[in-house]
């Protein structure tokens, strides 16, 4: 069955894969629609530059389409793409900053940002209050300052909403490691946001 239109959510994974294997161009476009944003997001958060994220985006899809026959259908198609994107971005990051990247190693327990210190209670301030404080750039800055190993787990689990198992598969780590890193990422981000909001908003 040729794909007349590419309907984002409606085409089943199996039908899409069949169409891709037949070389159906609509299916290629559908795959970009389906997985492209997250591919870009992973690359952008790891590399911190739009230009490099665009490179990885292209490399990922080129590589995926070239190696479609290797895809055995055990994971979701998008999961497979995210894994390719992650590995490409990681390779580039290692080239750029060889000294900072120990992404696969266990993280040392010395980061004291995981012991909550900032106890300003901003949880229930109305969103307009928080938005006034240039929320987006604050969020960006905080996530950029996370160690890369925590950053990727957080963005895939909490921002993109992937499951623990999927994230483990993409990063090639255990599900327990995903859970630990997620927890640490959340606490570190909380600490940074709290510090920021307490300076900006406390006592007004």
């Amino acid at each position: 069955m040729p794909i007349a239109r590419r309907m984002k959510g409606e085409l089943s994974e199996a039908d899409l894969l069949d169409a891709l294997r037949r070389g159906d161009r609509q299916a290629f476009a559908a795959m970009i629609d389906r997985c492209g944003d997250t591919v870009y997001h992973v690359a952008y958060r790891l590399l911190g530059s739009q230009e490099e994220a665009e490179d990885i985006l292209q490399e990922t899809f080129l590589q995926a389409f070239r190696h479609l026959k290797d895809f055995r259908g055990e994971a979701r198609l998008c999961t497979w793409l995210y894994r390719i994107a992650y590995n490409l971005a990681l390779m580039r990051l290692r080239r750029k900053e060889p000294e900072t990247i120990s992404i696969d190693q266990p993280i040392l327990l010395e980061n004291d940002e995981e012991i909550p210190r900032e106890l300003f209670d901003w949880c229930c301030l109305p969103e307009e209050e928080l938005l006034r404080a240039e929320l987006r750039s604050v969020l960006d800055e905080a996530i950029r300052n996370l160690p890369a190993s925590l950053r990727t787990v957080f963005l895939l689990r909490d921002v993109e909403g992937l499951s623990t198992e999927e994230v483990a598969e993409i990063l090639g780590i255990s599900t327990d490691a995903v859970k630990t890193r997620l927890h640490r990422a959340r606490l570190q981000l909380r600490e940074r946001l709290s510090r920021y909001f307490s300076e900006e908003l406390a006592g007004r």
């Binding site: 944003d37 870009y40 292209q58 080129l62 389409f65 106890l119 959340r186």
Partner: protein, 87 residues
């Protein structure tokens, strides 16, 4: 002031709790602790809010220009204008 040792143990479990993965009897104990301990209560609430804010505002999608170059690189530029889900 950093929370006490006991508090640290509870705070170590808030992610599991938020993800619905904490054993039931521990959930109840945690909830009880949050009621009694204002510090942990703040940490819990602000952690939850942190996640919410990122869910809502932390997403990044392909810029239109990046999407166009991608379609072009794959010789799909004729399909560029067909938006997902459109008739």
């Amino acid at each position: 002031m950093p929370p006490s040792k006991r508090c640290e143990e509870w705070l170590g479990r808030i992610s599991l709790y938020l993800d619905g993965e904490l054993a039931e009897h521990l959930c109840q104990e945690l909830e009880q602790h949050l009621k009694e301990c204002p510090d942990c209560h703040v940490v819990f609430n602000t952690t939850r809010r942190t996640i919410e804010l990122y869910r809502r505002y932390g997403r990044v999608s392909m810029p239109e220009g990046a999407r166009e170059s991608l379609f072009r690189a794959l010789n799909l530029e004729d399909l560029l204008r067909e938006e997902p889900g459109s008739e």
